[in-house]
C-alpha cells in the first residue's frame, strides 16, 4: 500500500519526458534498522547510505522539489569534502554554513564531517528589512568561531560577504564556487569518536554569541536517548520538519538523529511554514508522517490557519507530536487537538520534552503514548515557600498548571538545587542542573562562559527553574534573562542596546524583560527612562524606540516610559533586569501615561 501511495503522490508537475521525482520510502527493506553502535556522524551516514531512505525537500507551496537519499548525500559529501580541502582549508578549521533547509546545506555539513572540518551552521536572514542586523549577527558568530570560511547560497552572497569582511574571514564560497573547485587527492582524515562534531551558535546575544561545541560522543549519546527513551523509534517511522537547521531542535532532532536511525525526513523550509502553517499538516497527512516537533506556538499557528481543511486530512499516523523549545502550554495543545480531531489526530501523540543546545538537544521526554500530564499547584505557595503545592480546585487566579516533562534520558542526571547549591526534594522549586554524556565540551574559545555554565562537579546550570515530581522534571520558568518569543530566543541586551543608540538615550536607560502574558506566552516589556515632560517629545521617543527595537529584534514590545533613575542597578553598577521586572510587576515603577 505504501508503495502505490509513493508513486501516486510523487507526480510533480514536470513535463512527461522528464523523470518523475519520487520521495524516499518510509523504511529500508534490505538493510536492518540500526540504532546506536556508531561512533561518529560519518560512520552513521556510511551505514544509512546502504539503504534507500533519506531527505525530501518541499517547496513553499508544498510540491516535492528535491530528493536526497542518504546514499546520494554520502557520495556528494565525500566529493565536496575533497573540494573544500583543495581550497586550502586545514583539519579542524571552522566552516560557517548558512543553514538553509536544502540539500546544499546537508551536503556541506556532512562534507565537513568527512574532511575533518568543523561545521558551524549560521542562520539565514528572515526578517523584513533585517539585512543589516543579520549581517551583524552572523559576523559575530564567525568572529567567535574564528571561522576560516563561510559557505552560502548564491542569493545570500551579499550578506555573507559583508559579514565575512566585518569578521575578517577571507574565504567566502557559494555552493557553486565549491562545486567548481578541484577535488583534493589527499586522504580524507575525518573525525574519530573523541573528536568535535560541530559548533552550534544558538546561545548568547548578538554582541556576544556563544558557540556550543558538541563532540561526536555527545551527539551519539543524545541520539541514543532520543531514539530509545524519547521516541521509542520504529522501523516504519517517517519524520517531518519545518524547524530551522541552525537550531538544535532542527539540526539534531530532525537531521542528525533521524540519519543515525536511517529514518526518512520530509522538510518544509521554516519561512515556508511561517507563511503557510497549514502546509505542515497537509504534507504530514500526505506522507503519513509519524514524528514531528514544534514549539507550542507552531501548534497554535497551524490550528488557527487550517480552517475548513482539517476535515480532509488524515493525521492518524502521527504518533509523536513533540513539543520543545519553549514552555509547554496545555491550553494551546488542547485547542490544536480539538481542531484536528476531525483529522484523526490523537492527543496522546503529544510528547512534551525538555532540552537545550548545551546538552546537544534532549534532556528529558514525558513519555511517548501518554497524554499531556499537568500538575496544578498553588500560585501563592510558589511565591511564598518556593514549593509546588498541589491545588486541584481553584481557578487560574489562585492555581496554575505546569506540564510534566519526564525523567532524564538514560545516562543523565537532573537535579534541582537551591541558591546555596543544596539538592532539593520533591516539589521544592529551584534551579535545574543536568549532567551526562550529552553535555557540550565547552563554549568554543570562551573559558569564562564555560566555567559559569558547567561546574567542577560536571553539572550544567540550565538557567531554568523547576521542581521534581515522582522523579520527573517540571519546568516553572527561567533564572536567566533570555526571552522566549514565538519559539525564538531573544536576548534582552540586544533590545536594550539597539534602543540606546537613539541620541536621547544612553547606556543603562533601557531595561527589557519578559512578563507572562495572559495566554502564558512571554510578553516583552521595554522600560525606557525619559527625561522630558513634554508630551509630544515623549510620544516621539516612544515611537522611535518601538521602531528601532522592531528593526533589530523583529518583535512586538510594550514600550513604557518611566521616570529618570527609576531602573534599579546592582552593587557593581550593572542594570538589574530582574530587579526592574520585579519592581514593574509590583507596580513600584511610575510609568508615564501614553497619549
Amino acid at each position: 500500500m505504501e508503495l502505490t501511495k509513493t508513486i501516486s503522490l510523487a507526480v510533480n508537475s514536470s513535463p512527461a519526458d522528464e523523470p518523475v521525482l519520487s520521495r524516499t520510502p518510509r523504511s529500508n527493506r534490505d538493510v536492518p534498522q540500526q540504532l546506536g553502535g556508531f561512533s561518529t556522524l560519518a560512520q552513521g551516514l556510511d551505514y544509512a547510505a546502504r539503504g534507500v531512505t533519506g531527505f525530501n525537500f518541499y517547496t513553499g507551496r508544498g510540491a516535492l522539489d528535491v530528493v536526497l537519499t542518504y546514499s546520494e548525500l554520502r557520495s556528494k559529501a565525500l566529493c565536496t569534502a575533497r573540494k573544500l580541502l583543495s581550497s586550502g582549508l586545514k583539519r579542524l578549521d571552522r566552516v560557517a554554513i548558512v543553514a538553509e533547509t536544502n540539500a546544499d546545506f546537508m551536503i556541506t555539513f556532512f562534507a565537513c564531517q568527512y574532511a575533518g572540518l568543523v561545521p558551524c551552521p549560521v542562520p539565514y536572514s528572515m526578517y523584513i528589512g533585517g539585512k543589516e542586523s543579520y549581517v551583524t549577527r552572523i559576523a559575530g558568530m564567525m568572529k567567535a568561531a574564528h571561522a576560516h570560511a563561510i559557505v552560502t547560497p548564491a542569493e545570500m552572497l551579499d550578506s555573507a560577504q559583508a559579514a565575512a569582511d566585518a569578521a575578517g574571514v577571507a574565504l567566502v564560497l557559494t555552493h557553486d564556487d565549491v562545486a567548481s573547485l578541484p577535488e583534493s587527492m589527499t586522504k580524507l582524515h575525518g573525525f574519530s569518536a573523541d573528536d568535535v562534531a560541530y559548533i552550534q551558535y544558538s546561545s548568547g546575544s548578538t554582541s556576544a554569541p556563544k558557540g556550543v561545541l558538541i563532540s561526536q560522543r555527545a551527539i551519539m549519546a543524545n541520539a541514543k536517548g532520543m531514539h530509545f527513551d524519547g521516541m521509542k523509534l520504529r522501523n516504519d517511522d517517517r519524520a517531518f520538519s519545518w524547524l530551522p537547521l541552525y537550531h538544535d531542535m532542527g539540526l539534531v532532532g530532525f537531521c542528525l538523529a533521524p540519519m543515525l536511525a536511517q529514518v526518512t525526513v520530509d522538510y518544509l523550509a521554516t519561512t515556508a511554514f511561517a507563511r503557510r502553517p497549514a502546509l505542515w499538516l497537509k504534507l504530514m497527512a500526505e506522507n503519513r508522517s509519524t514524528i514531528s516537533f514544534s514549539p507550542t506556538f507552531g501548534y497554535d499557528l497551524a490550528a488557527r490557519r487550517i480552517n475548513g481543511e482539517a476535515v480532509s486530512l488524515d493525521l492518524s499516523a502521527w504518533r509523536i507530536a513533540g513539543i520543545g523549545g519553549d514552555m509547554v502550554r496545555p491550553d494551546v495543545l488542547k485547542a490544536f487537538a480539538d481542531t484536528l480531531s476531525v483529522s484523526k489526530f490523537s492527543p496522546t501523540s503529544f510528547l512534551p520534552s525538555y532540552g537545550m543546545a548545551e546538552s546537544t538537544l534532549a534532556i528529558s521526554f514525558a513519555g511517548a503514548d501518554l497524554p499531556v500530564r499537568v500538575d496544578r499547584v498553588s500560585r501563592a505557595a510558589i511565591r511564598s515557600q518556593q514549593k509546588a503545592v498541589p491545588m486541584v480546585d481553584g481557578d487560574d487566579e489562585v492555581a496554575r498548571s505546569f506540564v510534566i516533562c519526564g525523567k532524564a534520558i538514560e545516562g543523565h542526571v537532573m537535579q534541582v538545587r537551591n541558591e546555596a547549591g543544596v539538592v532539593l526534594g520533591e516539589r521544592e522549586i529551584g534551579r535545574i542542573y543536568v549532567s551526562g554524556p550529552s553535555l557540550m565540551s565547552c563554549y568554543f574559545n570562551n573559558e569564562e562562559a564555560t566555567a559559569e555554565a558547567i561546574g567542577s562537579d560536571g553539572f550544567l546550570d540550565t538557567g531554568d527553574m523547576g521542581y521534581v515530581l515522582n522523579g520527573e522534571i517540571v519546568i516553572t520558568g527561567r533564572v536567566k534573562d533570555l526571552i522566549l518569543h514565538n519559539g525564538r530566543n531573544i536576548w534582552p541586551q540586544d533590545i536594550e542596546w539597539s534602543a540606546e543608540q537613539l541620541p536621547e538615550l544612553k547606556s543603562g536607560d533601557v531595561a527589557a524583560f519578559a512578563v507572562e502574558g495572559q495566554d502564558g506566552d512571554d510578553e516583552v516589556v521595554v522600560l525606557v527612562e525619559c527625561r522630558t515632560s513634554d508630551v509630544a517629545s515623549q510620544e516621539s521617543l516612544r515611537r522611535d524606540v518601538a521602531k528601532i527595537v522592531h528593526q533589530s529584534a523583529g518583535v512586538d514590545c510594550s514600550i513604557l516610559l518611566v521616570a529618570p533613575r527609576s531602573l534599579p542597578f546592582t552593587s557593581s553598577g550593572k542594570l538589574s533586569r530582574n530587579g526592574a521586572r520585579q519592581k514593574y510587576l509590583a507596580g513600584e515603577i511610575d510609568v508615564f501615561a501614553a497619549h
Partner: protein, 79 residues
C-alpha cells in the same frame, strides 16, 4: 505601478493596527508594528495576490512599500 502600490496597501491594511498612513515611502518594519510572523503572513498575501515568489533575501532587503512594489513589478514583467 500605482496599481501595485494600491494593492499592496490594501493587503497591508489588516496588519496596520496603529492606522499609520500607508504610502510608497512607508517603512514597513520601522513604521508599522507588525511582528515577524505577521510580516511573513503579509508577504504570503502579496505572493498569492500577484502569483509570484518573493525569496527571503529580497524580503530582508526590503523596507518600504515602494521597494516591495518595484520587486513585484519586476517579477510581473518576467512572467
Amino acid at each position: 505601478m500605482t496599481d501595485i502600490i494600491d494593492a499592496i496597501c490594501a493587503l497591508l491594511a489588516p496588519f496596520n493596527t496603529e492606522h499609520v498612513e500607508l504610502k510608497a515611502e512607508t517603512d514597513i518594519p520601522a513604521e508599522l508594528n507588525i511582528d515577524s510572523v505577521g510580516v511573513l503572513d503579509f508577504i504570503m498575501e502579496v505572493e498569492d495576490h500577484f502569483d509570484i515568489e518573493i525569496p527571503m533575501n529580497v524580503v530582508s532587503d526590503t523596507r518600504t512599500i515602494g521597494e516591495l512594489a518595484t520587486y513585484v513589478q519586476s517579477q510581473l514583467k518576467k512572467a
